[in-house]
């Protein structure tokens, strides 16, 4: 029925009613005792909480189903490090926040060590990062989730999906209309979002031992995994891991490199001026290194390490100490000792992810400087889990196969809190828009890291846990952490309705202040020799005879708004009163000329992305288009939504693109003609408009 080229196991059987539990059951005939929601979100991790909150913000009655309410806001496996943000990931946090997402605000209430990475490398690649107090984060997240209007939280494990006849106006084999819980009860929903993380057939591996990754005494959801396979979803397998935890009081910090937090702390959220825990109260991190003794333990015990030997695709980068030692032998590797919280007695040794048997892990830890007497409180372990090939979802994160079913987070093959949160927000918004029959909310790769993330996943898929890097982003100089609000907040407010009035007004004020500031800076012009007198600190070149704008002077590394305002107080003083505004003006000046030209390129890409491909196109059979079989298969599997996305699929040739384009234009004209038959005049004008918009 489908043609699949990818590795990974799958059961593609023909989909008939007998395989659909409750097939044909529409919501009208639902038993009155079964609850009914607009959006049901399965999973309470980072993707799930963001998705549920976003759907509720958009006005949908939303249910968040999680195993236990008291674990909301906790990464399911506890497998990840207690930090948020970083390079590339900090960009995602800012964008989630610009759409009024939760994680940035909750982090600002819970951060115990703030640090901006890449400070000296240019503001486009600054990486906002913070160590988070796990307990505080969980508390604050639960408070937020439990107090979100329209959002209900319930405990329960989902075993199956309820499927119904598809809506004829959309593509897809069937439509999801609710979920079946383990206890057999049902919940009906207009849209369902799955954020089950590593829960699908998750297996935990330590040494040679392997056991299912469900919570203690709780099997991981086999039923759900089987249903997805039965529906024809292509499944792949990935692996990840976590380091052991170490008792804080057993570490000899005095001989280690101490890293103190930034002062002042730069908050993640646009709505926060400061963070909750003051810089002077924040906790330090420490740095130590591995040594040849660690390598020796790893290399001598490979036979006891099934996770490392397994063939399941791990990433090209080195998440575990084993891969570091194997691929980069005879090197010293960093281990960051990160606090888990203000009153936590645990330390997370970042960089020491390991799957050796527990006693060898302890032995290995004790080889490391500062950890000679360390007590391991919990061993590290590996996790292997199913993910669904993300080329099976649209950029709105809805699946091609099942209408109104959305996937977000690790289930799509990503790794990291921020990647999960970003998908969560987008899935939540779109699940809600779908219910209210509004067009989907899609972030283009010209608009944000979120767009790059989702476009990469949906058009190219992934063979390793996908992590955000700034090097993946073409328009890196335009998509910066500082301007995420001006890129996304207005769209979120107008198109999705997921942004609060207060945030919208704040972003509007910032936008107009920036515009005004820039135009003032452009209007002030002096000769370079006069600038040299005004700001002697700056190395202004006097070679040019043309007058120099204040904006150009602000580009010099050693000049900031403060300095500029001292030279010309009457017109510039007011822009230094708000620290954020002054900093953003400086950044805008730095990248001004570059961004103007990047805008040109962005427009070209957007033109291609405005050219929608019909969703119901059957690439394998369409006749009016001449396409090679290989190209047809590629298009069939990825189902690109625009000409732009199609052109990014490897192997789709320029000639194929032109053929597709011609096909789309012909179809459009035919439809246009049908819709507008009687009024010839209007029809002509309309096609003009169409072309303007589409091209």
């Amino acid at each position: 029925m489908f043609s699949f080229r990818r590795c990974g196991h799958r059961v593609a059987i023909s989909l008939t009613k007998q395989y659909l539990p409750f097939a044909g059951l529409s919501r009208d005939s639902a038993a009155p005792c079964s609850p009914h929601f607009d959006v049901v979100v399965v999973g309470g991790g980072h993707a799930g909480t963001e998705a549920a909150a976003a759907a509720a913000r958009c006005g949908s009655r939303t249910l968040l189903l999680t195993h236990r309410v008291d674990t909301i806001g906790e990464a399911r496996q506890m497998s990840c490090n207690p930090s948020f943000g970083g390079i590339g990931k900090g960009h995602l946090m800012r964008e989630v926040d610009a759409l009024d997402g939760l994680c940035s605000r909750i982090c600002d209430q819970s951060g115990v060590h703030y640090k901006v990475l890449n400070r000296r490398k240019g503001p486009a690649v600054w990486g906002l990062r913070a160590q988070i107090d796990r307990k505080l984060y969980k508390q604050n997240m639960q408070k937020e989730i439990l107090n979100t209007p329209l959002l209900t939280v319930r405990e329960g494990a989902v075993e199956d999906l309820i499927l119904a006849e598809p809506e004829p106006e959309h593509t897809g084999k069937c439509r999801v209309s609710g979920v079946v819980l383990v206890d057999g009860s049902t919940v009906y929903a207009e849209s369902v979002i799955l954020t089950t993380g590593t829960f699908l057939r998750g297996m935990i591996v330590i040494g040679l031992e392997m056991h299912p990754a469900g919570r203690l005494g709780d099997q991981p959801s086999m039923g759900l995994a089987q249903t997805l396979e039965r529906l024809g979803f292509v499944v792949g397998r990935l692996k990840t891991g976590t380091p052991p935890r170490i008792a804080k009081e057993t570490i000899n910090f005095s001989i280690l490199n101490k890293q103190t937090p930034d002062n002042p702390s730069i908050p993640f959220s646009f709505v926060n001026e400061t963070v909750w825990i003051k810089p002077e109260d924040q906790l330090p991190c420490y740095l130590t290194h591995t040594n040849p003794r660690v390598d020796k333990i790893v290399l001598e015990n490979l036979h006891l390490n099934s996770h490392v030997k397994e063939t399941t695709r791990g990433p090209r980068y080195c998440p575990s100490i084993e891969s570091k030692v194997l691929r980069f032998p005879n090197r010293v590797h960093q281990v960051w000792l990160e606090p888990e919280g203000m009153d936590s007695d645990l330390i997370y040794p970042q960089g020491l992810s390991v799957t050796l048997p527990a006693e060898l892990q302890e032995k290995m830890i004790m080889c490391i400087r500062g950890l000679e007497n360390a007590k391991m409180t919990q061993p590290g372990y590996g996790v292997q889990y199913d993910y669904l090939d993300p080329r099976q979802i649209t950029p709105s994160l809805e699946t091609h196969l099942v209408q109104r079913l959305f996937f977000a987070g690790q289930i799509n093959g990503t790794t990291g809190y921020e990647e999960a949160a970003a998908q969560g927000v987008i899935a939540g918004i779109n699940a809600s828009l779908r219910v209210s029959r509004k067009p989907p909310f899609i972030v283009s790769r010209t608009e944000g890291y979120i767009g790059v993330l989702i476009d990469d996943l949906t058009t190219l898929g992934t063979c390793e846990p996908y992590r955000m890097f700034t090097s993946r982003v073409e328009f890196r100089l335009s998509l910066r952490p500082d301007n995420a609000d001006s890129r996304l907040t207005f769209r979120g407010y107008k198109e999705a309705g997921c942004v609060s009035q207060q945030r919208y007004e704040r972003a509007s004020w910032m936008k107009s202040s920036l515009e005004e500031g820039i135009s003032v800076l452009k209007s002030i012009e002096f000769s370079s020799s006069k600038w040299k007198k005004l700001i002697p600190q700056a190395s202004i070149s006097t070679a040019r005879s043309l007058p120099v704008r204040a904006l150009d002077v602000l580009k010099y590394e050693e000049v900031d708004m403060e300095l500029l305002a001292k030279a010309i107080p009457e017109s510039l003083k007011k822009y230094t009163k708000c620290r954020e505004l002054a900093e953003r003006l400086k950044i805008e000046a730095t990248y001004e000329s570059v961004v103007i030209h990047q805008l040109q390129e962005i427009k070209e890409v957007q033109r291609d992305e405005a050219l929608q491909l019909p969703k119901d196109l059957d690439y394998l059979t369409i006749r009016d288009v001449s396409l090679s079989h290989e190209v047809r298969e590629k298009l069939h599997f990825s189902r690109p939504q625009t000409i732009g996305a199609a052109s990014r699929i490897p192997g789709v040739t320029p000639a194929a693109i032109i053929n597709l384009l011609r096909f789309v234009k012909t179809t459009q004209q035919r439809q246009g003609a049908m819709n507008k038959l009687p009024q010839t005049d209007e029809y002509l004008r309309d096609t003009d408009k169409l072309q303007e918009r589409e091209l």
Partner: protein, 487 residues
């Protein structure tokens, strides 16, 4: 200075790696802010060559080349003296036409220069245009695509567009192969490799420099690699010798099994004894090239070694070169011995080579030589033959028919402006190398690492336009190969 860099960016290649996502398919954007130029007349013998530009900087380009005169009246031919905007050196006295958009072929502002067809003039004007800010050489089919984007082509006219683009892409691929075959190509590849590595290291420093322990000196290493590149690019661009000389004309390659009479055919067509002919198979071992006039079209005729396996190393090398030459051919003359069609070498040649080349939609004429040896009844009931021509190199019987067929084929090949007059290819080459060099200069000047990396990205985009490839994945592969990163 960044303003300049971004003008470069706008001039940089827009094709395969404009969105550097892995190995993207390379469909350029529809419609564009950049102004493109190309030689739009064919490469056949002509007194006048037409060079066309399209895009917002067209008027600026016209004024730059004809400065200081005003724009001529729209849509009427005017005589102007063209000169190089930088050196002031006069190029040609030419007819120029100014078509302000939207009433033009593409719907954008367009200019046409009708210059005298000599290679020096055309090359000079192309190079002058390439040096005007905002202008870059057009991609395959780009003029037509722009016309389509602006609603200037009806859907029926567009029918052939995809085929045209396919053909142009193919032609450019062959042209690029020819060029990359030689020393220059190897140079470009090694430059691109060095640059990708330098970029990967800078990107690694940005993405992982603070969290993971990269070795010391990553940036310094990248700096010195860039410095080395600047020196060798600069030297190359200054070098007056043009290296491997690219010959004008369609590339016509003669191939066939040993002793079919390929060399005889070459000698016949070139009207002089170029190749040694003997009844012994394997006489020709290397590729012999000769510029000829075929049915009025300039062509480069290549005689190649007969394709066969299992002979001495010298002839093996000759066979390898012959196959390589086939890849690059515009037109192939496949020669078989008409009196020997049933022999294993003829059959295997028909089955493998002819079928394969046909499948790759390369232009091919099948010539059955030695027709004088055939019985008077003509060809017997031989194997199922594709369309073919009968010829006797000895008696010259069938020569007129062959020339007629050649004329038809070459008209198609040479009528296509993008089959790359080498002049245009060379102009494109210089354009991208200069663009790369300029961007590298900006890399050295900036202290903001994000801006520096952007300069390297632009420089790489220029180079990969000559060499192909250039996705983000390539960069990530190097990062993960060279550095131990990840948590």
């Amino acid at each position: 200075m960044w303003r300049e860099l971004w003008t470069l960016a706008a001039r940089a290649a827009r094709g395969s790696c404009r969105l550097c996502t892995r190995q993207s398919s390379g469909a350029p954007a529809f419609g564009s802010g950049a102004t493109i130029f190309a030689l739009s007349s064919g490469q056949g013998r002509c007194g006048i060559a037409v060079i066309r530009t399209s895009g917002p900087a067209s008027s600026h380009a016209l004024q730059s080349l004809t400065a200081p005169r005003d724009l001529p009246p729209a849509r009427s031919a005017s005589l102007r003296l063209l000169s190089d905007p930088h050196t002031g050196e006069p190029l040609d006295r030419a007819l120029v036409l100014w078509f302000p958009g939207p009433q033009s072929f593409t719907g954008e502002d367009c200019v046409e220069f009708h210059v005298h067809g000599g290679p020096a003039v055309v090359s000079g004007v192309l190079q002058a245009l390439g040096s005007v800010p905002g202008l870059r050489p057009a991609e395959a089919g780009e003029f037509t695509r722009r016309a389509f984007a602006h609603g200037k082509l009806s859907l029926t006219e567009v029918e052939g567009l995809a085929d045209l683009i396919h053909a142009e892409t193919e032609a450019q691929r062959r042209q690029a192969l020819r060029q990359l075959d030689g020393e220059l190509g190897q140079l470009c590849h090694s430059w691109a490799e060095t640059l990708t590595k330098a970029l990967a290291h800078v990107e690694a420093y940005i993405d992982f420099g603070e969290d993971d322990n990269l070795e010391e000196g990553v940036l310094e290493q990248a700096d010195s690699q860039v410095q080395g590149l600047v020196v060798s690019l600069d030297a190359h661009l200054r070098d007056a010798r043009r290296g491997q000389r690219l010959r004008s004309g369609a590339h016509v390659v003669v191939t066939g099994p040993p002793n079919a009479g390929k060399s005889s055919l070459v000698n016949l067509l070139s009207q002089k004894p170029v190749s040694i002919v003997s009844p012994e198979p394997g006489t020709t071992r290397d590729v012999l090239e000769i510029p000829v006039d075929l049915a009025g079209f300039p062509a480069l005729l290549s005689d190649t070694a007969g394709l066969r396996e299992g002979v001495g190393p010298v002839e093996q090398e000759g066979v390898r070169r012959a196959r390589e030459r086939l890849e690059q051919a515009d037109l192939i003359l496949a020669v078989l011995d008409a009196s020997d069609l049933a022999s294993p070498s003829s059959c295997s040649f028909l089955d493998t080579v002819v079928a394969l080349l046909g499948a790759q939609s390369q232009r091919l004429l099948l010539v059955l030589n030695k027709s004088d040896l055939l019985p008077s009844a003509g060809l017997g009931p031989g194997p199922n033959l594709p369309p073919h021509l009968l010829l006797s190199c000895l008696t010259r019987e069938g020569l007129d028919g062959l020339l007629e067929a050649l004329k038809k084929e070459l008209a198609v090949v040479c009528g296509d402006p993008s089959t790359g007059p080498p002049l245009l290819t060379r102009a494109r080459h210089r354009h991208h190398l200069q663009g790369c060099l300029d961007a590298l200069g900006h890399y050295k000047q900036t202290r903001d690492l994000a801006l520096a990396a952007e300069a390297l990205r632009i420089a790489r985009r220029h180079l990969t336009h000559l060499t192909g490839g250039g996705g983000t994945e390539e960069v990530l592969d190097i990062i993960f190969r060279d550095f131990c990163v990840g948590k």
